[in-house]
Every structure is written in structure tokens, then in C-alpha cells.
């Protein structure tokens, strides 16, 4: 199998508001929050009660399924509130940050001298385990299973995604330390993919299998890369770590501190100055986007426009996110919008839509659905943007009618919801593909483990 990955099927969604390559430091939020829902499938058991003083890196809660998996506080301060929803489900743990941050000391480590068990325990202890996610099912990894390989995608192809070559520049030492450590966790290889034309800080690491990726989105999605390099079969598990999380792990090993500061791209047409800022995971959106948003009728998204989460200004940056996108809301009617020729929206068809004439134009898309929800009608269009050897509509339907055998047979182990973001984007019937896949995967996980 070739080491380089080229895909043809896919779609680059080019939007207005690419982040300029300069980074400022966002001011510290007064309140930070860790939301258990960022860690899909985890049922939290609280450790820190309201009023507890915590240091950065001290655990707030642990996973009900495995008490070793700790979820740390990103900052030092006082736990002010535990927000609960229906049936007392924990929605968020809020911490007011101290003016000067203090870090829990986990001790510096020499990764090359550690055993697999030591690495694992260190990641558990410092609350870094949630960075390790697994396929199948796209959830925080089950530490009791042995992964056949570990995948790191350092190529971001999603719309307006943060340029990892820029945000990770200069972090080579931390990345190398992290790679050395996590490579102990698998008998197999650590696959790292970088953009074919890029100058990635990950390209020169040792102890990895390097892959150069080219082609349209979703070439940067880790599922696409897994499918091309070493597809997941029934009974197999692979682990996935993002490069920005590797930096956190690397710095933990080198300094003994858990530092959840990351470089976040502020992108989208509603930012007056799209650029990069540094912020700590769980920061209030308002402090990160301070005075940069154009107007109120804006959709703020923690993450990218395809798979990110809608947030309000007083809500919080997602735990894994390194991007905030702001685009206009589309809550207005459009006269004869369904039949007039369209030049300002993206389409993969040519049904009086003219985006095919201007493949390099950047679009200012809003959140309008451009039509109503319908049953599946059109066929053959999803396949054009879906590079995996899977029948997307058949798998979606299997998830909808909850046929687990069929989900398994059709490739359910190989996908994550984000892989269905493009098919959802182009869906003429406006079906919620990612939600359908998420529910399908949850059902599979419940029934098949």
C-alpha cells in the first residue's frame, strides 16, 4: 500500500474569513467551564464539589465506566457551579479562574524511558486520557483494548480550518516527546499525515509512519486516512489523537504541567479581523472573540461550519476545538429562492446554480437551510463527495431503521459522524446525516460494545 494518500472525491468549501496568520493573546476569562457532553458517551462522576479550590490539571470528574479516566480543570480557581439538566445530568462544571494560575505538578518524564503501562498511568493521572479517541464509534478510547495503530492527522481540510502548520510551528520538541510516549501504547505503527505541499512541524518527527495527503476535504478527516492506510475491520480498534492535543501531552511530559492553552483560529465572515488567538480550553466565547464580531445576527460555532457546535457568546469554547467560526444567520425569506439562478451559494449540481463556474471563489454562506426537510429522493450525489468504500445512503438508512447487522456489514465500524458532514451539506432532502450516524454508532456501541 502506498504511503501517500490522494483522494478525488470530496468538496472543498471555500468561505470568506480565512484567519490571518498573526496570533494575539486573548484576555483570561473570569469563568471557564468543562462540559461532559464534549466527551461523547462519557457519564461523569463528580470529584470536585461546588466551592472546591482546584489547580490547573486537577480532576473535576471521572468516567463512570472507568474511574481511571479523569477530566481535568483547565485553570486554577474555585468550582463555582455544577450546572445540571434533566434527570440531574451534569451539563457543565464552571470554575472561576484565579488571577495568577497555579498548576498541579505531575513531574517531568523522559518518554523514551517509560514503559507502556507508565505512559498510560501518567496520561490517566494528568487527565490527558480524553485526548485519546478511538475508532470504531468515535468516543474516548477504552484503555483496556489494544489499538492496532494510532493515527494523527496534521492536515486540516475542513472549511476555514486552522492551519496546523502555523499553529504548531515551533512545537516540535513537545510533539516528539508525545509521539515517543504514545507510540508505546500500540504494537502497531503511529501514522502521521501531513499536507502534501505543506511544511509541517510533524514531518520530521521520528518513530512515525509519515503520509502525505492531497485532495479535497475530507482528505484531512482521519477516517479517510485510516481507510486508505489500514482500514478498520470488525474487532479491531485504532486510536486517534489530534496534533494540538499531542502538544499538550508533550508539554506535560517536558514540564510536568497540564497546559490546555491552544491557538484558536477565529474564522468566518462575521469576524471583522479573522486571525489566531491563544486561549485556554473552556474559555468564555465572549472573551475569545472580544470586540471582533460584526453584528448580532450571527451564528457562533465552536469548531468548523460542518461539524462544530452552535454556541452563544456567554457559553464556552469546546474542549477539543481549535477554531471558532462566525457566519451570518440566514433567518430570512428569499423570494422565489427555490427556482431563481443562484450565484452566491455553493452547490455540487448545476441546477441553475453556478458555483461550478467559479471554483476558486470564496462564498459568504449563511445558516439558511435552503429548503425543507424531505425523505431521501436524489441518489448518486453523496458518492461524489464521499471517498470511503462505503455506500453512504445505505448506511444512513441502516442507522435509521436500526439494523445493527447491516450497519456492521456496511462499514459502521469505519466511520465517524464528521465523515457524513459533506453528504449532509449537499443533501437535497436536508436530512441530518451526522445525527443519524451518531445515533447509529451509539446503538452499535451499546449492543456490540
Amino acid at each position: 500500500m502506498s504511503k501517500d494518500i490522494r483522494i478525488k472525491k470530496g468538496l472543498d468549501i471555500k468561505l470568506v474569513g480565512v484567519a490571518e496568520k498573526n496570533t494575539t493573546k486573548s484576555s483570561q476569562s473570569s469563568v471557564y467551564a468543562v462540559k461532559p457532553e464534549d466527551f461523547h458517551g462519557i457519564i461523569p462522576k463528580l470529584i470536585a464539589k461546588e466551592g472546591t479550590e482546584v489547580k490547573a490539571g486537577e480532576a473535576l470528574f471521572y468516567s463512570k465506566s472507568d474511574a481511571r479516566i479523569l477530566f481535568p480543570s483547565p485553570v486554577s480557581g474555585k468550582v463555582v457551579a455544577v450546572i445540571r439538566g434533566a434527570r440531574r445530568k451534569v451539563l457543565a462544571v464552571k470554575i472561576t479562574a484565579d488571577a495568577t494560575q497555579t498548576y498541579k505538578d505531575f513531574g517531568t518524564k523522559d518518554a523514551s524511558a517509560m514503559s507502556a503501562e507508565e505512559v498510560k498511568n501518567h496520561l490517566f493521572e494528568a487527565g490527558c486520557w480524553p485526548f485519546v479517541k478511538q475508532r470504531p464509534f468515535d468516543v474516548v478510547a477504552n484503555p483496556n483494548q489494544a489499538p492496532k495503530a494510532i493515527f494523527v492527522s496534521a492536515y486540516a481540510s475542513a472549511p476555514l480550518a486552522a492551519d496546523l502548520d502555523y499553529t504548531l510551528a515551533g512545537k516540535e520538541v513537545a510533539l516528539q516527546a508525545a509521539i515517543t510516549a504514545v507510540s508505546k501504547l500500540t504494537e502497531g505503527k503511529v501514522h502521521v499525515s501531513v499536507g502534501a505541499k505543506a511544511n509541517s512541524p510533524l514531518a520530521k518527527l521520528t518513530g512515525i509512519e509519515l503520509h502525505k495527503v492531497s485532495g479535497p476535504h475530507p482528505s484531512g478527516n482521519v477516517s479517510t486516512q485510516i481507510a486508505k492506510i489500514d482500514p478498520i475491520n470488525k474487532g479491531e480498534v485504532v486510536w486517534v489523537i489530534t496534533p494540538q492535543d499531542l502538544v499538550v501531552i508533550g508539554e506535560l511530559l517536558l514540564t510536568g504541567k497540564l497546559n490546555l492553552t491552544r491557538t484558536v483560529a477565529l474564522t468566518g465572515s462575521q469576524f471583522s479581523k479573522p486571525h489566531y488567538v491563544t486561549a485556554i480550553a473552556g474559555a468564555t466565547i465572549a472573551t475569545v472573540t472580544a470586540n471582533n464580531l460584526k453584528d448580532d445576527n450571527t451564528r457562533i460555532i465552536s469548531g468548523n461550519v460542518l461539524s462544530g457546535k452552535e454556541v452563544k457568546a456567554d457559553e464556552f469554547l469546546g474542549y477539543y476545538d481549535n477554531q471558532i467560526t462566525a457566519i451570518p444567520e440566514g433567518d430570512d425569506y428569499e423570494f422565489f429562492g427555490w427556482n431563481k439562478p443562484i450565484f452566491n451559494k455553493i452547490s455540487t449540481s448545476r441546477a441553475l446554480t453556478f458555483s461550478w463556474l467559479t471554483p476558486n471563489k470564496k462564498y459568504d454562506l449563511n445558516t439558511n437551510t435552503n429548503g425543507e426537510h424531505r425523505a431521501f429522493v436524489v441518489t448518486g450525489s453523496y458518492e461524489e463527495v464521499f471517498p470511503l468504500d462505503i455506500y453512504p445512503m445505505q448506511l444512513l438508512k441502516a442507522c435509521m431503521y436500526k439494523d445493527i447487522d447491516e450497519m456492521e456489514a456496511l462499514g459502521g465500524y469505519e466511520v465517524a459522524p464528521e465523515d457524513f458532514a459533506l453528504t449532509e451539506f449537499i443533501c437535497v432532502s436536508k436530512q441530518p446525516h451526522q445525527k443519524i450516524i451518531r445515533e447509529g454508532l451509539d446503538l452499535m456501541r451499546e449492543e456490540l460494545g
Partner: protein, 399 residues
Amino acid sequence: MSLKQNLHNLKEKYKGTKMAPAFNAIHTFLYLPNEVTHGGTHIKAADDLKRTMNIVIMALVPCLLFGMFNAGYQHYAAIDSSLRTDVLANFFTMDNFWIGIIKVLPLVIVSYGVGLLVEFIFAVIKGHEVEEGYLVTGMLVPLIVPVDTPLWMLAVAVVFGVVIGKEVFGGTGMNILNPALTIRAFLFFAYPTWMSGDKVWVYDAVNRTGTADAISGETILGSYAQNQEVVYSTFDKFMGFIPGSIGETSTFLILIGAAILIFTKIGSWRIILSAFVGAAVMGLIFNQVVAADIITDSSKFYGLMNTPWWEHLTIGGLAFGAVFMATDPVTGSQTNKGKWIYGFLIGFLSIMIRVFNPAYPEGVFLAILLMNVFAPTIDHYVVQANVKRRLKRTKVKTA
């Protein structure tokens, strides 16, 4: 207050009531709704089902306009056959178009009126939005019936087709059979005398039967099936200056429609191409059978078997069926590989039925309905190949 604001207020007023789907159908016809995304992707591509269906309708418009002229032309040419000597001069006349207006337009109006009424009733009863599927069906139906079809007959058939062909399965997207062809099949089996013979294809021919002014017009397929001489030139057949169902005579305009569907990526080029290939292959086989003297001109199959394979592609409803009916994504094969097989078999079977069923040589609608039923089976085997490939990967690993 603007129209936009007024309609918005009305929408809020009707929200949650029984009338909401009916109102929304009209509202969303005027305005793209103000709905925004929630939960999934925050942006969506420009296409919706209305736009998709609208393209198909636009691709059908040339066939409809031509059919309106042709309705008049066939009528006058049947009375005075000298008109046929200079087709181009005598075709696009206001007299011809007037016959189209009084005969074809009512069929279109009845088809849409009755069909949409049924759709609205179902939407209100079941509380879902009015779906766009009928916009195309309503246009297809008048194009695939003879010009003299009585309006009441069409209305009955449309009610049957929409209710039994589509709504009982759950509406657009859920049906097994193409609704337009279900309507056509209902007409054919319930009122066969109105769907075949040498009278129904020409306006007023039925009324004049038995009088001194009697006229008739046999379709080319009908003539071949009875081993008669065919008087039309290849040019006439290709351009469509021949008797037949209203919209299906002009292969030329159908190909333009096909070009629109393929260019806009709305219709599957795989199905269209493979249907023509399938028909050509079957035509060639029959030509060889004749060439090998297995069948002689005394056989009742001789006329159609001896028709050159390429001519089969231009006569009858084959082209119209392949381009506008077989490509229905709901009832056709859904996998790309399946589409090749599905289209090929439609073409292949159409010509087979055409030849072996001289009593009613128009085989394409039966072939498509048959393949509609088999499309899920084709898809099943195509998908199973993918499943097997996946299983094999596991076995290689463990071996």
C-alpha cells in the same frame, strides 16, 4: 406591510393547525423559507427538492410545446395528407397550436389539479408538508397519454396513481413504482381501447369514426406490428412529426431534455446511456435473427424484428421513457453500478416486449415498471459485493 411580512404573520397564525401544510406549500412556493440549521452542518448547499424537480420540469417544457403543435399538425395532416410534403412550413402554425391549447392544456391542468389536490388532502390528513414529487409526475402524465384521452379518465387514473402508487407507501421518496407510469398502466389496463389502435393518437379521430370525414393515424410501432408500410421518413421520426402520445414523439427534443438533465446532474447519465445501449443490443439481436432467416416475413413478429436497431431508438416511447421515466431516483436503482444494469435491462426489455407483443407494441412503460420492482434486488447484490469485500479484508487478516 410587505407581502413577505404578511405571509410570515399568516404562517405563524396557521402554525400547528391542520391547514399549516396547505398554507406552507403555497408560501414556500413564493419564498424560500426562513429556516436555519440546527445541530448538524451549519451551512447547506443551495439545492433543495423543489429546485431539483423544477429542472426536470424545465427539461420537459420543449416536449410539451412540441406536443401541442404536433396535436394540431397530426389532426390537419390526417385530413389533408398533402401537408406532410412540407412539414417545416406546416408545423409551427397558430392553427396547430390552437388545437394544442384546447386539447393538451386541459390534460395538463387536470393532471396537476387532481394530483395536487390529492397531495394536499394527504398532507393535511397526515400533517406532513406537501412534497414536490408530483410537480414532475403532473407534467409527465399528460405527455405520455394519447391526445384524445377523455379528461375524466385521466382524473380517475391520477387519483389511482397518486393514492395507490405513492401515498399508501408514505409519499414522495417511499414509492416503489414510478407514479406517472402507474397512472399510465392504470389507463392502459382499465381503458385499453382508448390507449391503443389507430384512432386515439389523432385529435377528433374517435369522434369521426364511421362518418364520411373519418380520419386515422396509426403510430409507427402499430404499423410495424401489423407488418404495414411506414410512410414517415427517418427525419420525421427523429424530429417527431409523427402520431404518438403527446410528448414522446420528438427524439430530438428528448435528447435536449436529456442533455439538460445530465448537465445539471439531476438525471443519471448512466441510466440514460445504458438504456439506449440495452435497446440497441436487443434490436441488433432481432436484426440478426431476421438476417439468419430464422424468421420470415410471414411471421407476425417480422415487422418489428426487421426494424433496424437504430430506428428502434427513435420510435415509440423508448427515448422518453429512458430519459424521463427510468431516471426517477426513487424508483430506479440507487447505486451507480446498479444504474448500469437497471438502465440496460430497461432498454433490452422494452424492445423485447415491443417485438413479442404486437397487440400493444409500446413496451417501455411495462419494462420500466418491471425494473422498478427489480431495482432493489439489483441494488441488494451491488451492495452485497461491497459487504463481501469488507468481510474478505477481515479474513485475509486473520488467515
